[in-house]
């Protein structure tokens, strides 16, 4: 018999009806307990791999992924955000996430299969049909790079180093706890992991110092993170469970703990022309490019208590925040943030480096 077009149409129609019937009947099990067939797993995994490689093709890798500050920033968040599912150098994966389909893999053996830009893309965008979430603040590439920097360093990292990076001055949880138990710790214990008991932050600039800020500035910053008005995957997730009373207490704990601390950077260690340029921008701004004077608001003796103190802040933190203002990422958080985006929008990377270095070389108690 000859195959005619109408035969094909009949077969196609029968196929569609069968598929719809199977789909609608509920006969296909979506149970996580049964896992994937090997062939399904292979197809999904290959699709994921190809997709990540394709979509990360235009990602530019920053040059300094070994910077200790970056690795530390990544490690601290990894412990609270990633380790519960993926495990860490000191702790295996929790049992609950292992029952997901697909189960989140332990990362040390698989990191080597990816280039840094692929890791960045996965951490930033997450992976559909798996439990891997996207980064909570998609505008904060700097944070995603910190995680990437840590992931690259992790396979070689021993447990003691990891604990020091992830917990800082805080007491690590007892053996067997950790991971998800971090949310049940007293809030301050989590702040201390990065910002230290006294609010000194991290000397490598991984975390800002809080001990020079006013109570009202700290409280408003926490509230802005809480409301999602200030973007940060790290801070937003730490602040989310806090009650109003806890926010107030934390701000009070760190406020002005060390207004007389020394400058984190010795001015003598900086090139004089950078220092000169930074001082000039701080004092008069760049009038021809409509950049305002920093000290107009950030002179410690005159500015509103809502304005942060930046004399003596870490230069890495100042640079990150200035970049966020210049790119327009940080513009609608607290009441006064739009002033910063207008005042700084024309700064170029060299200006930012200079002005951050100058402020970092000033003691917090400096007059102007």
């Amino acid at each position: 018999m000859t195959i005619r077009l109408r035969h094909l149409v009949h077969v196609l129609a029968a196929l569609v009806v069968t598929c719809a019937a199977v789909f609608w009947s509920g006969i296909i099990s979506i149970s996580a307990s049964s896992g994937h067939w090997t062939i399904t797993d292979l197809i999904l995994h290959t699709a994921m791999r190809r997709s990540v490689i394709f979509h990360a093709r235009n990602v530019t890798v920053p040059p300094d992924l070994e910077h200790p500050g970056l690795v530390r920033r990544g490690a601290a968040h990894f412990e609270s955000g990633c380790a519960p599912c993926h495990g860490s150098p000191v702790r295996p994966r929790s049992t609950v996430p292992q029952e997901m389909t697909p189960p989140p893999p332990p990362l040390a053996p698989v990191i080597g299969q990816w280039e840094p830009q692929h890791l960045f893309w996965i951490v930033k965008h997450g992976v559909k049909f798996t439990g891997m979430p996207a980064w909570p603040a998609l505008s904060r590439d700097d944070e995603v790079w910190a995680i990437t920097a840590f992931l690259l360093a992790m396979p070689e990292m021993d447990g003691a180093t990891y604990t020091a990076l992830a917990y800082g001055a805080a007491e690590p949880p007892a053996r067997g706890a950790g991971g998800l138990s971090l949310v049940t710790r007293p809030p301050l214990e989590n702040c201390v992991r990065c910002h230290d008991h006294e609010g000194k932050g991290d000397p490598n600039g991984a975390f800002p110092r809080l001990d020079i800020q006013t109570e009202i500035y700290l409280r408003k910053a926490l509230e802005a993170y809480h409301r999602g008005q200030r973007a940060s995957g790290i801070m937003e997730s730490m602040v989310a469970p806090l009650t109003e009373a806890e926010t107030t207490a934390l701000a009070a704990h760190y406020a002005r703990k060390a207004p007389d601390a020394p400058a984190p950077v010795d001015p003598a260690s900086l090139p004089p022309d950078i220092l000169r340029r930074g001082k000039e921008i701080a004092q008069i701004g760049i009038p021809e490019r409509n950049v305002a004077s920093c000290l107009g608001c950030h002179g410690p003796k005159t500015g509103r208590p809502e304005f942060p103190q930046i004399h003596g802040q870490y230069r890495e933190y100042i640079e990150i925040q200035l970049n966020l203002f210049v790119s327009g990422t940080r513009s609608s958080g607290a009441d006064f943030e739009h002033l910063m985006s207008m005042a700084t929008h024309a700064l170029d990377p060299a200006d930012i480096e200079a002005v951050a270095a100058w402020f970092a070389s000033r003691p917090p108690s400096a007059d102007n």
């Binding site: 701004g285 305002a292 005159t302 500015g303």
Partner: protein, 316 residues
């Protein structure tokens, strides 16, 4: 009837911003040149129309070739050549000689979107001000015209000009105001959304009084009291962009406010200076002047803004 209606337009020729009501040597020269051109053009127009009407009304008759040639060559070649050459000669002769400057007062005017940065230079003195031009009657003044962003044009119709401000160039203009009084100048080249709100007051002082004004303008802020308004001005970061001589000299992005209280207008001619206008301006500059570089302060309580406004008005 038409003549009566046209008469209604005549009052518009006067006023503080009219090239037809000159108050400076150059404006007078342009004014009389304009009058001469209008009268000349009217005469030529009347002659032409008369000839045309005559040609229509007259019975066609024969003319000698000689008459026709004389009319065509005389009226079509010789008269325009002589007329235009004469105009060119007069025009070129009336171009001012700016090879050297007779002025010992130089005023630097820097166009910004959408205001005027002004600096007075006399000898070694340089006094920074904004959005108002003060001139001595009877003395030549050299204007040094530059721009920060786009093309602006500096025009004081009653005094003289205009002259464009071109990015990357320094343009000069020498003018001699003659009649004391208050005039109005404006930007005469479309420069952005608030081009129409980029104006300024011009004050021509009687001889001698200008020096008193300059001394006053040179002096630091008149109100040095530690008022609440002053504290709030500093605390809210106004000084990041605005200088007040003698009180705070940091940022220079926005207009100098050392003597802002004595200015006649607010925000480069946008509104007459008043407590209400100043309060509205500080609260939301964009509402008054779209595209202005100043951020809004809607987050401040009204009493803080009022205190800042009062402090600024006290700076005379």
């Amino acid at each position: 009837m038409v003549a009566l209606l046209l008469l209604l337009l005549v009052p518009a020729c006067g006023g503080p911003q009219s090239a037809l009501d000159p108050a400076g040597l150059e404006a007078e020269r342009i004014g009389s040149f304009f009058l001469f051109m209008v009268l000349g053009a009217a005469t030529i127009w009347a002659l032409l129309m008369g000839t045309a009407i005559l040609a229509i009304l007259r019975r066609p008759g024969r003319h000698t070739e000689r008459f026709a040639n004389t009319l065509i060559i005389g009226g079509g070649v010789i008269f325009p050549t002589i007329g235009l050459a004469a105009l060119l000669t007069v025009g070129l002769r009336s171009l001012p000689d700016w090879s050297g400057s007779p002025a010992d007062l130089r005023i630097h005017v820097h166009g910004e979107q959408f205001w005027w940065r002004v600096a007075y230079e006399r000898g070694d003195e340089r006094i920074v001000s904004a959005n108002e031009i003060h001139l001595p009657a009877g003395e030549p003044v050299e204007f040094v015209l530059t721009t920060a962003d786009v093309i602006h044009s500096f025009w004081m119709p009653a005094i003289g000009g205009k002259m464009d401000m071109m990015p990357g160039r320094v343009n000069r203009l020498i003018l001699t105001p003659t009649t004391p009084g208050i005039y109005r100048g404006a930007c005469a080249e479309f420069c952005g959304p608030s081009h129409a709100l980029m104006a300024f007051a011009i004050v021509v002082h009687p001889p001698g009084e200008f020096d008193d004004w300059l001394v006053a303008e040179t002096s630091p802020a008149s109100n040095s009291a530690e008022t609440e308004g002053r504290r709030l001005f500093l605390a809210n970061g106004c000084a990041a962009c605005h200088r007040i001589g003698g009180i705070v000299e940091l940022g220079e992005v926005g207009p100098d406010l050392t003597h802002v209280g004595s200015r006649r207008t607010l925000a480069a001619g946008t509104a007459p200076m008043s407590r209400q206008a100043l309060t509205d301006w500080i609260t939301d500059p964009q509402a008054l002047k779209p595209g202005a570089g100043m951020p809004a302060y809607t987050m401040l309580p009204e009493e803080e803004i009022l205190a800042i406004a009062d402090f600024l008005l006290s700076l005379e």
